[in-house]
Amino acid sequence: MLTSKEVNIILHRLACQLIENHLDFSNTVLIGIQPRGAYLAKRIQHLLENDYHINNLQLGFLDITFFRDDFRRGEKTLEANKTQIDFLVEDKKVVFIDDVLFTGRSINAALTAVQSFGRPSEVELLVLIDRRFSRHLPIQPDYRGRQVDAIQDEKVKVCWSEKDGEDAVYLV
């Protein structure tokens, strides 16, 4: 669906859109949603720091496993990932970063989970892929890389070179 070049262009655009709204990021923190949002968050951070010379960016990673609403409802035990947030979000502008927005349930869980770290003044959502017509909850992204219409049993797979060997997005 997207090649490495297209992913790169989109990342630059998203970074610029973030700068437009947050200027020097003095009161803004980025939070990658574990596990897959962490890769995107690191990329955005890298771009902002190296290409746009934003210093002192605060980046954290939030695991939402224990806040999910499907505990004991699936076959498998939900496996946790590492949460690493070394700052308080009290009165900060928080930008959640995730790779794919689908039902909105992960973001719903993330909204609850982030409250453990304080009361943010504002929360925004950045996603690389926004799957339309599949939301279970009234949650929409503030920054979106690409909007796609995928039918229910299709799966959007985002690959990152540091994990999967290439930057690409597939519909499988």
Binding site: D63, T65, F66, F67, R68, F71, R72, R73, K76, T77, L78, E79, A80, N81, K82, T83, L88, T112, A113, Q115, S116, F117, G118
Partner: protein, 309 residues
């Protein structure tokens, strides 16, 4: 591997190495959770847990209750002293009555070895053994290993000596199983009267001399002398016990390496260890207590996720 191989935690004996690894990895996440400004997650909001303690407990009961509350479970606690057990009700009846109030999980401490196993065979709930007589105390065994892993990086290959009242100790047995499963070497040390006769059949060696034991080990787990379980005198006097098997700062400093000192609590200060040892940098006693909550959260979370919806 994301699921326990068991539906109850009755003893370390019934676990496999991969279960312990999974519990520790999950506990790492919960340890991070309990150090947040808000120390609570909503995972178990639809689970009810009964803590049934037929024997006294402060630390274990508090630790379990806190772990359950941090996971948002509903908790009912009861001590046998104020219960119908005193009126002659059987164990199965007592627990079944509690379960008919829609309880999903039972944490039980009982003075009879095998009580938790017996219960797991006879009632429909997930059972966690919080100590059954002188048999096992699995969550303590787990949190002790977890604390060693945290302090020394790993448990495998480490040398651990368990000192003191091995005979009456459920902590000793759970520790031996847990440590050996993870590849640690275990010695026990204590007066001959407090070492069970066939302990070598578990694959541990006995070292009657405390200094030799400490010189050998990386970690010393100092058990409490359980006066309340002693029907006869197992040693001439507490003073003599402290002289032979108590660790003081002078002894610790005279060793050629820094060993880790553990104690499952409650400490008889001046008997098993002196105050300056208990409060020293080498002691991980308070870390054990903190880790206890994280490890118990992990056990409860993993068992709860196997409960039928």
């Amino acid at each position: 591997m994301s699921e326990l191989t068991v539906n109850h935690l009755l003893g370390i004996k019934y676990l496999q190495k991969q279960d312990i690894d999974l519990i520790f990895e999950t506990a790492d996440h919960f340890k991070e959770v309990i150090n947040r400004p808000i120390k609570k997650v909503p995972s178990l909001r639809d689970i009810t847990i009964a803590n049934i303690f037929f024997e006294n407990s402060t630390r274990t009961k508090l630790s379990f209750e806190l772990a359950q509350k941090r996971l948002s479970a509903d908790v009912i606690s009861f001590s046998a002293a104020q219960s119908s057990v005193k009126k002659g009700e059987t164990l199965i009846d007592t627990v079944n009555n509690i379960l008919s109030m829609k309880v999903d999980m039972v944490v039980m401490r009982h003075s009879h070895p095998g009580a938790a196993y017996f219960l797991s065979q006879n009632v429909k709930a997930s059972i966690i053994n919080a100590g059954d007589g002188a048999h096992e105390h699995p969550t303590q065994g787990l949190l002790d290993s977890y604390s060693i892993r945290e302090r020394l990086g790993e448990v495998g290959g480490k040398k651990v000596v368990i000192v003191g009242d091995i005979l009456h100790s459920r902590v000793a047995l759970s520790n031996i199983y847990a440590l050996q499963m993870q590849g640690a070497e275990v010695k026990v040390c204590g007066p001959k009267t407090l070492i069970p006769k066939y302990i070598e059949s578990l694959g541990v060696t006995v070292e009657p001399n405390l200094r030799k034991a400490l010189e050998w080990c990386d970690v010393a787990n100092m058990l409490r002398v359980q006066n309340e379980r002693m029907d006869v005198n197992y040693f001439p006097s507490t003073r003599e016990y402290a002289q032979q098997y108590g660790v003081d700062k002078a002894l610790l400093d005279s060793l050629n390496k820094e060993i880790v000192i553990m104690h499952p609590g409650p400490i008889n200060r001046g008997v098993e260890i002196t105050s300056d040892v208990a409060d020293s940098q080498q002691s991980v006693i308070l870390d054990q207590v903190e880790n206890g909550v994280a490890v118990r959260m992990a056990v409860i979370y993993l068992l709860a996720s196997k409960l039928q919806q």
